[in-house]
Subunit: 206 residues, 2 copies
DNA sequence: ACCTGAACACCGTTCAAGT
DNA sequence: ACCTGAACACCGTTCAAGT
């Protein structure tokens, strides 16, 4: 007995089974953990035989790659939102806003974040779209750091190195907080992360 | 037909099956990946029925926790070695040596590192020994940063925040390099990581 | 074109012995 | 005390059909 009504099921015959599977996977994973994300359970939730998923995803890794790609897009949106909310701040403060948005995204959706950064999904280069969405997030960081250089607020180090440093710091903080190597209360995340990041951001000042 | 000779097998009856399993797990994982680390395969390698492992590990997570604990111990040893090799350097350079040792450890043994930091293994507090080995690594970092403050080379920020920042930076760098979000050639790791970390370390200077 | 069903090889884990 | 064997419920994936 399928969980979905026939009416609901009809839509999957019209081409959005792929999206339905990705959405279900994202929802499932936040309710449990990446380990419990299985092709069979996702298919069950969508109300479809688990073999139907293979029509849209070559294998389980392909589904994970789609979830990750979607996640990078969502992360980009969050970062853009943070910057839009802080238009007139100086480079240092904009970078801080970006860092807080990044870390908040990760900590509020730890399982999703772990799929994005846990395993190497694109080992064989099968998912160029995933790489594209990563590149867009990278570009936002690079543009912001470059802007700080243009306005003479940041060091003239190669931008690539600044992005590596900034991304390492935010990703490391988020990732350590998720596995509880760092104990970070959600309510104190904003102030805590700013304090931890400030030394690095001060180091960028010229 | 077991893979080990009877002579070899005898030893496992004398109390080191636990260690044999952990060692085999560490070896197995570097040859493949954390996903391919299974209780059954580890047991097979040791030449023992997979049920025998349950005499020493409550479940698979307990084996992973033992691998992680062993990993933190090894990481601590590497960091101590790096500091011992740099006794007369200033605080900044000692911290750099520590950072390079940390990142090298992770990148040379990516699967082991992923077990240490990938999943939250001690969710229910079953593995206090794991927490202890993490604490020892943390203490080394804290002592080093504190020393830089005592010698008036680092800012008088609470040490905990400095450790968070430093650990976030090194862990983030290592972890992004492992999933290839940052492209880091092993031969350039030393110079690359120093360049990326320098802004942060400069930010620590008072 | 899109979905299903049966089958296969593999897991982690439980129960019930064996020495 | 330590190890084994059979069995169970779950996976991902393949093959061969169904509409």
């Amino acid at each position: 007995m399928p969980r979905r009504s026939k009416a609901t099921r009809e839509t999957y015959h019209h081409g959005d089974l792929r999206n339905a599977l990705v959405t279900a996977a994202v929802e499932l994973v936040e309710g449990s953990s990446p380990e419990e994300l299985t092709l069979r359970e996702v298919s069950r939730r969508v109300g479809v035989n688990h073999r139907a998923a293979y029509r849209h995803f070559e294998d389980k890794t392909a589904l994970l790659a789609a979830v990750a790609e979607d996640g990078y897009q969502a992360l980009l949106t969050e970062m853009e939102r943070a910057l839009a909310a802080a238009p007139r701040l100086n480079a240092r403060e904009r970078l801080m806003a970006l860092a807080v948005a990044y870390v908040s995204f990760a900590i509020d959706q730890p399982a999703r974040y772990r799929i994005m950064f846990g395993r190497r999904l694109n080992e064989d280069g099968r998912f160029p779209a995933l790489e594209d969405s990563v590149a867009r997030a990278y570009s936002l960081l690079a543009a912001e750091l470059r802007a700080g250089q243009v306005s003479k607020q940041f060091l003239e180090t190669p931008v690539r190195e600044l992005v590596f440093g900034f991304w390492s710091l935010t990703h490391g903080f988020a990732s350590l907080a998720i596995v509880r190597r760092l104990q970070v209360k959600r309510s104190l995340l904003d102030s805590w992360s700013r304090q931890v990041f400030s030394a690095f951001v001060d180091g960028l000042a010229r």
